[in-house]
Symmetry: C2
Subunit: 430 residues, 2 copies
């Protein structure tokens, strides 16, 4: 059986961490992969910015300085795009690969978040597919679980902690008592940050991933622009501690759900119960929670980045193609994906509000009045000692619409008792 | 695109909980499934012991009293076997389906654990496949994750808590302080037990599942007979409490790993760290831990049984077949699966030993001497008060081979200070 099919021929664009990992797996596990896929998987050509020594033997492969030229080679079947970046070379090469009839395996979340629909349509027109397991949650096979394993479910909600750097910072803030800025600098030194750190700490990278999950969960065209984004830059040690006292942990949590009001997508710091699987997630590990109408809740946890895990995800896609598995890019034909209608209002929830008040008589009463006027009722209120003239105040609300919270916060400004900006974080039921 | 392919036609054998669930999904989500699969999925005929009212409308389907007749109908493409039982009708009907050129989707772990290799070979000879996502860990798409998503990995170890009833009993023992027998009776009343309860509490059902995971993880023929099985019947409340004091919880844990000594498969009660994902698993939920050489550790958690979750898994397989995905039954051609060489000796580990000693001077010294003679060194020893003349003793050993533990336990018998049988539980590093 294994003899009857010709090898599947790869062209790999990008020889950074992920590209090297893919080369290593192909070189190490040739026999294993051939047994599983029913045919050999071979690398024919690679492309990178330079031919410097990368600690792997590339001598058997053709080298293309231009990834577009690689994408167009007639002797490759699958274009593996592990360059990164959502414009420029990665986009041009992916388009070229599709135009010349290649399937594409990519780890590029930004590219698909921005151009996924157009690329999927182009691939479909050529009878090709784009697979992107490595683009979301690293080594966790979540795209496959959602698109294939749970395909009999109407999905209700998908949640995820999908940026390891943010989770590392938040976890370390609690563990070490160090502030955000110190740990940000530590991450920079450790090489945990993207060239533009805002991609990580601003929630953009995780938002890209969430927008792809939305599409495959709900059959909608990728709508990254409609993701509500909030980074972790304003989380203080005080927030971490107060959340902990309340039995919660703060996570940069992505939530996407289809509601009567439309598609709700957000990637924001949230409080989750400390003893929930999401609350217990430590360090750089990722977690995705999938909720379907038949299956109930599935939780998947694993490494979200790194050479081995990301290359594992790329190879899962490659072996699918070698086996002849051909699932539409976003789980159904791109032409049938509906345009996402972004929810005008996000779901109500309990909220964590932290602010600093001037130490004046009646200050707290003024804040409580604002909340009442905005229709927000208070579940808990704590004033934790004084810092000179400033009193840090923590309020946990009952379930309230985000618009009402925003209304209350706007009213706070008029009281004259507020120091700095209040922080409002959603308490997510998980 | 969706118009071009004819519908995929199902014959469903068994209208118990799972069968009803499958019918409900097909009836409720016809359009969703057609969009995802690129073609309609239809039920053509069903089979059950009787035509009693099951709360679902079966009027559009042909009824076959004999599942073999259903399996042989020329108007079905896929035989969905959700009857259960590893001999008799389920086996005959599955064989008939394969012989008449059908693909098979089954939830039947016992059938595959006993006859998986023969059935897979028969299917292969006909160019057909058997898919069995629903047979292992209910709604968790673990077969897919392992066979496809992680196909680029050499697997190192797979672990799982895969019998909800056992985990429910162990969890409730800790939560309520009730003993095993009380909770066993509660499970019987709640309908949580198989007709032969030993399938659950004896670890057999979970052992079936483990043997299937071994096959797809390591490319070996299913070897259920080589699974070391130990049930939870001898776990006392004392064990639960003492484990907890040590920072552990007791789980009926399956472990399969390929070692230099051969394939090691066991389904036994083990101590796992209370704060690990496995240790935190409560109630009837299942968890599977997949460890690969590239990906590291992936943890999947979800409902292990019930109508919705199991039917979700069946439908995942059905939609794969509708899409044209055809993965070999055990992830590679059955003819290439190697014969499993069972490990002669299982891996060493730390051990939890609990025994009751006569309250005689020197009793503990005699036990300690036995351990020393067997080459087992002691990490911790606790004697928790006296119960009349009997003293319960807890010993935690340093890492020791199972043979040495067995040797020590055999020596205990000769000391004359032992009351009843000692209990030895492995402490698993997770």
């Amino acid at each position: 059986m294994t003899q009857s099919l010709p090898p599947l021929r790869l062209g790999i664009a990008g020889l950074g961490t992920v590209g090297r990992g893919v080369v290593r797996i192909v070189q190490t596990h040739g026999a294993l992969i051939a047994a599983r896929a029913g045919r050999r998987v071979e690398i024919v050509a690679v492309s990178a910015r330079s031919q410097k020594d990368r600690g792997i033997d590339l001598s058997a492969y053709a080298f293309e300085a231009d990834p577009v030229a690689l994408a167009q080679r007639p002797d490759i079947d699958v274009f593996v795009e592990v360059m990164g970046g959502h414009e420029g070379a990665a986009k041009a090469a992916t388009e070229a690969a599709i135009a010349s009839g290649k399937d594409v395996v990519t780890a590029n979340k930004a590219l698909l978040a921005h151009h996924g629909q157009a690329l999927a349509l182009a691939a479909e027109a050529k009878g090709r597919v784009i697979r992107f397991e490595a683009a979301v949650a690293g080594g966790i096979p979540v795209i496959k679980a959602l698109t294939e394993g749970l395909a009999g479910n109407a999905m209700k909600r998908v949640m995820g902690v999908m940026n390891g750097t943010c989770n590392y910072i938040l976890t370390r803030m609690e563990a070490t008592g160090q502030g955000y800025n110190v740990l940000f600098d530590e991450c920079a030194k450790l090489g945990y940050l993207e060239a533009d750190p805002n991609l990580d700490v601003g929630g953009i990278d995780a938002g890209h991933k969430l927008s792809l999950l939305s599409s495959i969960a709900f059959g909608t065209q990728v709508a990254f622009d409609a993701v509500e984004l909030q980074g972790i830059q304003n989380i203080l040690l005080d927030d971490i501690r107060m959340a902990k006292d309340l039995g919660y942990r703060i996570k940069l949590l992505g939530v996407t759900q289809m509601t009567g009001r439309g598609l709700e997508q957000r990637m924001t710091p949230c409080l989750v119960p400390a003893d929930s699987p999401l609350g217990q997630l430590q360090g750089g590990t990722n977690m995705v929670v999938l909720e379907g109408d038949s299956v109930g809740q599935i939780v998947m946890r694993g490494p979200g980045a790194g050479e081995g895990p990301t290359a594992s995800a790329v190879m899962g896609d490659v072996i699918d193609l070698a086996r002849g598995t051909r699932v539409s890019t976003f789980g159904q034909p791109a032409s049938t994906l509906t345009k996402a209608i972004p929810a005008k209002a996000q779901a109500p929830s309990a909220w964590y509000l932290r602010m600093t008040l001037l130490d004046k008589p009646g200050a707290l009463a003024k804040i409580a009045t604002c909340l009442g006027e905005a229709g927000v009722s208070i579940d808990q209120m704590r004033q934790n000692g004084h810092e000179g003239i400033h009193a840090p105040v923590l309020i946990v609300t009952h379930k309230a619409a985000p618009a009402d919270i925003a209304d209350a916060v706007a009213r706070f400004a008029g009281t004259g008792v507020l120091v700095g900006e209040p922080v409002a974080l959603r308490i997510e039921e998980v």
